[in-house]
Symmetry: C2
């Protein structure tokens, strides 16, 4: 939400870390000889997104229309000093929170959805399509499409569709057509349902349906994380943070975020890391999905179905099936190639956090700062608390990115009787 | 959420309209000769709240501690120009939105809860208690208590307790003890349950339980609306709006808000009205609860049970039982005495809006501005849309107060198949 005095905090350019990485990114490769999934990207993604995916430009101008939508959906998001949390932890330095939960859709996902939908619309495309698991990405796509004056279709994993009716409602409210996947809308969905009418769905199936639907209807497919272009769009988080800190007369020493595919983490930290700032960067992952600390750095499929190309990244294997954990957004088997390179080179330090610690962190954050954070963001808060407890006497400035609010995920507290 | 550049928008003083009303307020009176409910206030309310209730001071200094908490819970809330809504409506003037849904608890209620809990704590009281229907007020009380380092107890109308488990969860997360009312915690609750073990509860019963509990434990009771002190605390909304408009180089011509008890409406409009600004003020109420347009201006009980005094106000009768409408926060039978005086004197114009129009307004607002507003606030948005459609060629600046977000009230869209 914009007020005149904060408008100029929204950056004019996105930052792309690719040219500043300590080693070159390995190129994506096809994962089958039947059809080229790299060629397929030409028909799937908006042209400008594809160009940004492979560019070595350090900066990309944010179109005026996208900046204007950023302002309407709540950018700049707040950066505030969490004094009560500092007091509670007895930490002698300062803690700052960048709160992406303050966007209209409640998470950082909207930052790239708005850009991708804009580029699709610019090409004359009248509809975009995507898949969604927990619902955050689908919600962002739905609003981004509406705000760019185009339609949207979302294939939502059936089990989530049934368990998260509120998410489905918000997407519909924004004007999206939402199908439980597997659906009867695509040949692939129909083939799955033929074999198993009660199939609960999976992200892999939903991706296959969404991409098939895109190709069949000649529309564009939006990607929620992992890819370079997505992380570039998300750099708006870190760039705003830098400007906000500067206005406060502060510098960042430690940056903490959570990692699903890596987009909120990359968007938040890369402007600092890439510009050679001396920062400690901590990437918090779920104990149950420890791709960065226990995955292998190798070529692997981006999606289970293998529709998209394979990329070189830390991965637990595309067929890795994580436990049905409380933080759906962190279940992804791999991590963005650029983030993987930074971890491999010791520039980003991964850390695993388990459920009990996350729930405690969410409670502490709610009671000290009043914010009900998303379970995914709870990992970043848990890593922050861990850091402060281990370094109480330090006087560093820690900035934590709280990627979303958790108002629609309160069921995670069932287990502790809240 | 605060950023350094916006901190000074939070006012240093609250504004109290009482000395600026066009006619004096009639004093509250006891509604039975058995016990004086006015005297009872001395034991129920924090002393400073009671003083503010009866003061003729035009301004009250906001304690530094309260201002600091205001900053932590999201003040100043955003004021933004709703350009997409303007375009959609083809309105040639400007529309500004003040968004109280951006506070940590998602509505304006926290503005007074923080102040009341602060004054209770200042007196050495270690716990506060209140009742809640839909849950917004209980949530605000729970967080306000926590942030002031004291405990809280909330009696939640049983039917809401069962239908709105998320609200109960948030209150617990903030550290409140939440009881379904009627409960076994108070003599009154036990007497109700004895007669009817499956009693669904009511706001009247919950108020009786909360006040009884306060007296029994020697703690303080917090009031959510209607009273002068509450509207004074809520003036932070209008005072911020004035400063934000000034920073944008704009003036307000039309102010629109919704009315339950009158606290968000009064808080928003009074700083403009009381300072003699020429503004058109529109108070939007639910068609099913038309107290301002079809109520009687007379002494009536503030609460069904008659624990609190009677005041002179527009009322449908304390025993009026509204339909179980979609906007729980607007079901109150009366309206704040000061607001009633302003309506009676033609300074505030009441307007009734029905469910279909509200649902359409919420959809329009979500699709144009991305915000899912509360059903209560949907009334204000509906009145805004009505105004713009009737005055398309006007070039007035309209400011609408969106008092809360509706993320936890999405079920209202069930009826239209969303």
């Amino acid at each position: 939400m914009i007020t005149s005095q904060t408008q100029d905090i929204i950056p004019e350019k996105w930052y792309n870390i690719v040219p500043d990485l300590p080693e070159p990114l390995a190129p994506p490769i096809d994962n089958s000889s039947d059809r080229s999934s790299i060629e397929l990207l030409n028909s799937l993604l908006p042209r400008e997104v594809l160009r940004q995916e492979f560019t070595f430009n350090r900066y990309e101008r944010i179109p005026d229309e996208v900046r204007e939508i950023y302002a309407q959906i709540g950018r700049p998001t707040p950066l505030f000093r969490a004094r009560r949390l500092e007091d509670f932890l007895g930490y002698r330095g300062k803690i700052f929170v960048k709160f992406e939960g303050a966007t209209a859709t409640g998470s950082h996902k909207i930052n790239t959805a708005v850009a991708q939908a804009y580029y699709a619309g610019k090409e004359g495309i009248e509809e975009v399509v995507t898949e969604t698991g927990a619902g955050q990405w689908g919600t962002a796509t739905a609003l981004a499409a509406t705000m760019n004056g185009i339609r949207s279709t979302v294939f939502m994993v059936k089990v989530s569709y049934e368990q998260k009716p509120l998410r489905k409602k918000i997407m519909s409210l924004y004007g999206a057509r939402v199908y439980a996947s597997p659906s009867t809308e695509t040949p692939f969905g129909r083939s799955v349902l033929e074999k198993e009418p009660g199939h609960p769905g999976s992200l892999g199936i939903a991706i296959s349906e969404a991409t098939e639907y895109a190709l069949e209807h000649g529309i564009r497919y939006l990607v929620g994380s992992v890819m370079n272009a997505v992380l570039t769009h998300q750099s708006v988080i870190g760039l705003e943070t830098q400007k906000q800190l500067e206005l406060m007369g502060e510098e960042a020493n430690v940056l903490i975020g959570c990692v699903g595919g890596g987009s909120n983490f990359g968007g938040f930290t890369y402007p600092f890391i890439g510009q050679g700032k001396e920062v400690e960067a901590i990437a918090s992952t779920a104990e149950e999905v420890p791709k960065l600390s226990r995955g292998e750095f190798r070529y692997d499929r981006m999606d289970t179905a293998g529709v998209l190309p394979s990329v070189k990244m830390y991965s637990l294997g595309a067929d890795f099936v994580p436990k049905k954990i409380y933080a759906g957004g962190l279940r992804y088997h791999g991590a963005s190639p650029s983030l993987s390179v930074l971890v491999k080179n010791g520039i980003v330090r991964p850390e695993e956090v388990g459920e009990a610690e996350v729930i405690e962190a969410l409670q502490v954050f709610a009671r000290t700062q009043g914010i009900v954070a998303a379970p995914e963001s709870g990992h970043a808060i848990a890593s922050l608390i861990r850091y402060c407890r281990a370094h109480r006497e330090e006087r560093k400035n820690i900035v934590v990115n709280v990627s979303g609010h958790g108002l629609l995920d309160l069921s995670i507290f069932d287990r502790v009787g809240i």
